[in-house]
């Protein structure tokens, strides 16, 4: 393990920890219920949903973006169609299983398994 490698990891690790730790002293401690009402309170309570929506978009982008680029360019590659259609199956199965079981774990596993199966089938 080189010194440079250790320094990069420790600097990024400490920086990321501080990103997570320092703001714990803002936004909650000691205030009574409703103290952060108004636009700032609404902003912070919607940031979570916005984050999950953006993270979902980022996670799906590698499956959708190449397919969309091919469509715009006027051609369709076999791999792009394969990944995008398998992702569609994965998304549908995740939603259906979530509606059926109301569980994050079962929906996640079922969605991933459905994606793998759809990707593997000819």
């Amino acid at each position: 393990m080189s010194v440079t490698f250790v320094l990069v990891c420790v600097t990024v690790g400490v920086g990321t920890y501080l990103f997570r730790y320092l703001p714990t002293h803002f936004g909650g401690r000691g205030r009574s219920n409703g103290a952060l009402a108004g636009p700032l309170g609404k902003f912070l309570s919607s940031v979570g949903l916005g984050a999950v929506a953006a993270l979902l978009a980022a996670a799906l982008a590698p499956y959708v973006a190449p397919f969309a680029r091919e469509v715009v360019a006027g051609g369709l590659g076999r791999e792009e169609v394969r990944a995008a259609s398998a992702a569609l199956v994965g998304v549908v199965v995740t939603v259906v299983v979530f509606r059926w079981r109301s569980g994050v774990a079962s929906a996640t596993l079922a969605g991933a398994a459905a994606y793998g199966l759809a990707w593997w089938l000819p």
Binding site: S46, V52, L56, G111
Partner: protein, 246 residues
């Protein structure tokens, strides 16, 4: 809706199970990727223990294996993780708005390391859905369970080595889809009908940010765009106060 759980450590550990189930295989594939690009078992494990941020670890492997300058690597990776700045204030605001009179953060130095994207999203979903009386012990439990899965998965992947999934490409593909499936499930757990504008604006902001700059900038813009939509779009009530609930 599930019954409201108390904020005990054990309940937090139990709540980490869905995240751990998704983290472990993704961490295995991180360990395999690190081994494939020439990192030792100790280096892969060290990265997961110290950095503990999935996407930026994959980027770190690519940058360091590609002999990028250390300064560029540090700046890129920190910029990628800057979104974590908003997680604690957002979570603690949700906790307070759902009825906690005083929210202690005395032990945040311990549980903050575990406040990843998925841990934050899972905690926020339970608090917003009123399924949890949040407490620091619960937060420590969910964080520790997810952390253990990530570190142990990395170790298993690094021990398996670079060619581990070459014979099972469908398994490799399914493992890669765990993260989109997890985020979709968490979104479904958080979402109420009147909050669709937040989701739409966040996704559009992500698309714009990632097309013009980078994926991590897109995520940051998506968070901020979603927050602004929640604050200023008329009719989109506060997510948790219940003031405008039907």
């Amino acid at each position: 809706m599930e019954r409201e759980a108390t904020g005990r450590f054990g309940n937090g550990l139990l709540a980490s199970l869905p995240i751990a189930l998704a983290y472990f295989p993704v961490a295995v594939s991180f360990g395999v990727t690190a081994a494939k690009t020439g990192f030792s078992f100790a280096e892969a494990a060290f990265m997961s223990i110290v950095i503990y941020a999935g996407a930026s670890q994959f980027l770190a492997v690519a940058l360091l294996a590609g002999n990028a300058s250390p300064l560029l690597a540090v700046v890129s990776l920190l910029a990628m993780n800057a979104r974590h700045l908003l997680y604690a204030p957002a979570l603690l605001t949700l906790v307070r708005q759902t009825g906690a009179s005083v929210v202690s953060t005395r032990w945040s130095w311990f549980w903050a390391h575990g406040l990843t994207d998925e841990v934050f999203a899972s905690a926020a979903a339970r608090v917003a859905g009123r399924q949890l009386r949040w407490g620091e012990a619960w937060q420590a439990g969910i964080g520790l369970g997810a952390y253990a899965a990530w570190v142990s998965g990395t170790i298993v992947g690094a021990l398996l080595g670079g060619g581990a999934f070459e014979r099972w490409p469908a398994v490799d593909a399914a493992l890669a889809f765990l993260m989109p499936a997890l985020f979709l499930s968490l979104l479904l757990a958080m979402l109420e009908r009147r909050q669709w504008p937040v989701v739409v604006v966040a996704m559009l902001a992500f698309a714009l940010g990632s097309a013009l700059f980078s994926t991590s900038t897109g995520i940051l813009l998506g968070m901020l765009g979603g927050g602004l939509a929640g604050a200023f779009i008329p009719g989109n009530a506060d997510a948790t106060t219940g003031e405008e609930r039907p």
